[in-house]
């Protein structure tokens, strides 16, 4: 076809095409703020030419395609960067919480309580029979214990919060997986005939959201189907099928099929999930374990000195602070006994019990030799027999109880078997870790039982004696062997032996939290910079520039005006022709 008809046809196509181009432009302008939207371009091409009257005439314009402007390489980098950034930022969030838990600027901080505790022992050594000094010591001991207890509780709360986040996160992930599978189907259906640009944008946005939770890999089939796998290659979505995650116990399970359930907890190393899991399984347990070691060492060292001393008065009854599970058969020096400090008991060691007869005013000493392989029941029987009848040892609820007959009292001295401290007899603290540490009930009930003094070789002891208090207050200067735990991902916790004072150990621990937090902040800042650069690079390709769209709008508008001018010209030409008679 040629002639005016051709002009009209070309004009019609041009009008339509420019109109489509304006449609695309308006879609772009409308989505200038839409997250994940990729700018679309109308691909306009000249129509195939056709021969007419011996010449080849162009036949106008047509809209060939509407394409998204994306760069798959940058998109993939952005996704993995998203995982890294979210990993770091979640860790920073929780490290900030940890930093406030260990707030060292407050007077209630653990290291301050330590200082106060030692001060109280010093004050007692200066005035051994003073009641105010004893009250303050119990008060400070309780505050120190509570600081430990609160730390433990606060850190425990963090673990719960993290588990809640993981649960919500898994729900989110499963929702995203279903949506991706949905969109997969739609894209396949649409792309038999054209481009599903906006659906593709939505799908990459979903994959992006998924990457915030964990690192994922994607692979696209020719038909537009997207397969999403975990970083380690377990399939999450393929075509319309999803493989949802479940949270069971403390683990994340991927259900490949009802029969194949894979625990992927340890393989998630990035994204929010990776951050939470690292925090929950490495960072927090390391701190808790080390705090426990500190509490355990403090309790043991104070108790082992305290248990060998004597208070303002001798005892008429004392009950152990530590309970055994097996009192009848297991040796007290064996783990089977269930005693917290079973390993401290020295086989063949001895301790003295002084029995005071108030009527006669005499002091009689009995030396008990400890057999670590013998049961607690055996020890109780030995104590009763060897002390000669006026002092009776028995076991209640796994605890050793020693009571004197009326008119008799008793005290302890020279324990090199450690059995008194291990059973919690005449100790200052009870408990064996950060959660359980507390001042012994026997001390709180009767502050005269604080053992500032020692029984001398003739069985005598003085209220004004401070020898035991001096020994305890010297603990703050002494290096102790304390275990230090290091947790790292994928390996068992490593144990290190340190030789420091209790204070120094605590300071090291506190600073290690600061170091970790600082390095995480730096990692986050670095990842943020990279992510910003990548986002800019992506946006330079894919995001909408209003200036550009406005220019295009005018360009297409003018083309549209020109095309309509074509029609009026063709119309005039036809009129001219029709006027010819």
């Amino acid at each position: 076809m040629g002639g005016i008809g051709l002009v009209l046809n070309v004009a019609k196509d041009a009008l339509l095409t420019q109109q489509y181009a304006i449609d695309v432009t308006s879609h772009n302008i409308a989505n200038v703020d839409t997250d994940g939207y990729s700018r679309q371009t109308a691909v306009i091409e000249a129509k195939d030419a056709a021969p007419y009257g011996g010449f080849i005439f162009g036949r106008g314009v047509e809209l060939n395609d509407i394409v998204r402007n994306t760069n798959n390489f940058i998109e993939a980098r952005l996704q993995s960067g998203q995982s890294d950034l979210n990993y770091a930022s979640e860790q920073v969030t929780y490290m900030n919480v940890l930093e406030t838990v260990f707030d060292e600027s407050s007077s209630a901080s653990l290291s301050n309580q330590f200082d106060e505790f030692w001060t109280a022992w010093n004050d007692l050594a200066n005035n051994p029979s003073g009641i105010p000094e004893r009250n303050i010591l119990v008060e400070n001991g309780t505050l120190l214990s509570e600081s430990f207890n609160n730390l433990y509780a606060d850190i425990g709360k963090m673990t719960n919060e993290i588990n809640n986040s993981i649960k919500t996160g898994i729900n989110d992930i499963n929702g995203i997986l279903t949506k991706i599978a949905d969109i997969n189907m739609k894209i396949v259906a649409i792309e038999t005939s054209g481009n599903a640009n906006d659906l593709r944008d939505q799908r990459s946005q979903l994959v992006n959201e998924l990457s915030q939770y964990m690192e994922v890999n994607t692979y696209e089939y020719d038909d537009g189907n997207l397969v999403v796998t975990t970083g380690k290659g377990y399939t999450l979505v393929s075509r319309a099928d999803t493989y949802p995650l479940t949270f069971e116990g403390n683990n994340i399970i991927l259900e490949s099929s009802p029969s194949a359930r894979i625990d992927i907890t340890d393989s998630i190393e990035s994204g929010k999930m990776g951050g939470w899991l690292d925090m929950r399984d490495d960072v927090i347990p390391e701190i808790t374990d080390n705090i426990d070691e500190l509490a355990k060492t403090l309790i043991w060292n104070v108790n082992s000195i305290h248990s060998q001393g004597v208070g303002l008065e001798s005892l008429s009854s004392v009950t152990g602070a530590y309970a055994a599970i097996d009192t009848a058969t297991a040796g007290i020096g064996a783990a089977a006994s269930g005693l917290d400090y079973y390993d401290k008991i020295v086989d063949g060691g001895t301790f003295n019990i002084w029995v005071y007869d108030s009527a006669l005013g005499t002091a009689t000493s009995s030396t008990i030799t400890v057999d670590a392989d013998a049961s607690m029941a055996q020890l109780a029987a030995d104590i009763t027999t060897i002390t000669g009848g006026n002092v009776n040892a028995s076991i209640t609820d796994g605890r050793l109880n020693i009571s004197a007959d009326s008119g008799y009292t008793f005290a302890f001295s020279d324990d090199n078997s450690n059995v008194l401290a291990a059973l919690g007899i005449n100790t200052f603290f009870q408990g064996s870790d950060a959660r359980g540490i507390a001042v012994n009930e026997g001390i709180i009930g009767n502050k005269n039982n604080i053992a500032a003094a020692k029984v001398d070789s003739s069985g005598e002891f003085a209220e004004g004696d401070n020898t035991n208090a001096l020994e305890i207050s010297d603990l703050q200067y002494q290096d102790r062997t304390i275990r230090q735990w290091t947790y790292s991902e994928g390996t068992a916790a490593a144990e290190d032996i340190t030789n420091t004072t209790l204070d120094e150990y605590l300071h090291m621990l506190v600073s290690s939290i600061g170091v970790k937090s600082q390095s995480m902040q730096r990692t986050m800042e670095y990842k943020e910079t990279i992510q910003n650069e990548l986002t800019t690079a992506r946006d330079n390709i894919s995001a909408v520039s209003l200036d550009e769209e406005m220019t295009n709008l005018i360009k297409f508008q003018q083309a549209y005006t020109a095309a309509s001018k074509l029609i009026s010209t063709a119309d005039e030409m036809l009129d001219t022709l029709l006027e010819v008679r």
Partner: protein
């Protein structure tokens, strides 16, 4: 290069937030005048700060211990100086009373005087500091010396361990004394009380020989007491030295802690100002850039 509209807004956001958070941090340093506000601000410096804080608390406690020890030593010194004075007086009295010119009635009077000296001596041996007995070993709650009316001897009820205080890591210093080490272990010639009791009896019995026997012992006692006084003096000097060392350490530690922990206020204020300036600049440039758009230049 093609710049998307979103990029401009993202940039503005990032830079405003960045400069704002810098300004916030600088403000916190100024308002707390502390350089380390969070553990992560300077974890390495923090360990030192925590160590210094513990050391300071410890040093303050040692200061308290030392000043208590000093007061014990001062009290002991003054008690023993009085003991020495009494011994000198008694010595003079014995010299006078052992003279053949002295009559029995004068000796009887002197016996009363010696009785009073004995009471005073016992009361000095029961000297206290802050309610605790100085010469009772660690049995510091009970008066260590008392005249036993039946035996006529002065009994010791303290024990044999010296009362110590802590003046440093693993360093205890005895500030109290075991009374028997000063006044005599057994009821024999080395016992100051026995000398006075014997003297009193000899004076009452007009026994010149007995008086002369005591005279020799008195010299030994005086030597012993002088030695004790000088030992206590030595300890006092040690305490004073310790006290000034503690004061010095306190200053040094406080200084070092402050260097690590405290912010240089003028520097912090300048830092805050420069952050404010940066924030201002970011705001101004943002407001300028945000206004620009081709849309504004196209007529409808």
């Amino acid at each position: 290069m093609r710049i998307a509209s979103k990029t401009i807004y993202d940039r503005i956001n990032t830079s405003l937030q960045g400069t704002y958070s810098d300004m916030f941090d600088a403000q916190e340093v100024v308002s707390t005048s502390k350089r380390i506000n969070k553990l992560s601000d300077d974890p390495v410096g923090l360990v030192t700060v925590l160590d210094l804080r513990s050391s300071l608390s410890n040093i303050e406690q040692l200061g308290k211990n030392v000043s208590m020890g000093s007061s014990w030593l001062t009290a002991s010194e003054s008690a023993l100086t009085q003991v020495d004075d009494i011994l000198t007086d008694v010595k003079a009295l014995t010299v006078q009373m052992s003279s053949a010119n002295t009559g029995s009635s004068e000796r009887a009077n002197a016996a009363t005087l010696v009785g009073e000296y004995l009471d005073e001596m016992i009361s000095l041996a029961n000297s206290q500091s802050g309610g605790r007995y100085l010469f009772a070993g660690t049995n510091t709650d009970t008066a260590p010396f008392a005249l036993n009316e039946t035996t006529g001897e002065v009994d010791y009820s303290g024990n044999d361990t010296e009362f110590s205080i802590k003046i440093g890591s693993g360093t205890n210093i005895a500030v109290g004394k075991v009374g028997t080490e000063i006044f005599g272990e057994n009821w024999d010639d080395d016992n100051i009380f026995k000398s006075l009791v014997d003297l009193k009896a000899s004076l009452e019995n007009n026994d010149i020989e007995g008086i002369q026997d005591v005279m020799g012992n008195l010299d030994q006692h005086a030597t012993k007491i002088s030695a004790e006084i000088s030992e206590i003096g030595g300890k006092s000097i040690r305490m004073q030295t310790k006290e000034s060392i503690i004061e010095d350490l306190k200053l040094t530690y406080t200084d070092r802690k402050s260097q690590l922990e405290d912010a240089d206020v003028s520097e912090a204020v300048i830092e805050l100002n420069s952050k404010q300036l940066a924030y201002n600049a970011a705001l101004t440039s943002a407001s300028k850039v945000m206004q620009l758009s081709l849309v504004d230049y196209l007529s409808a």
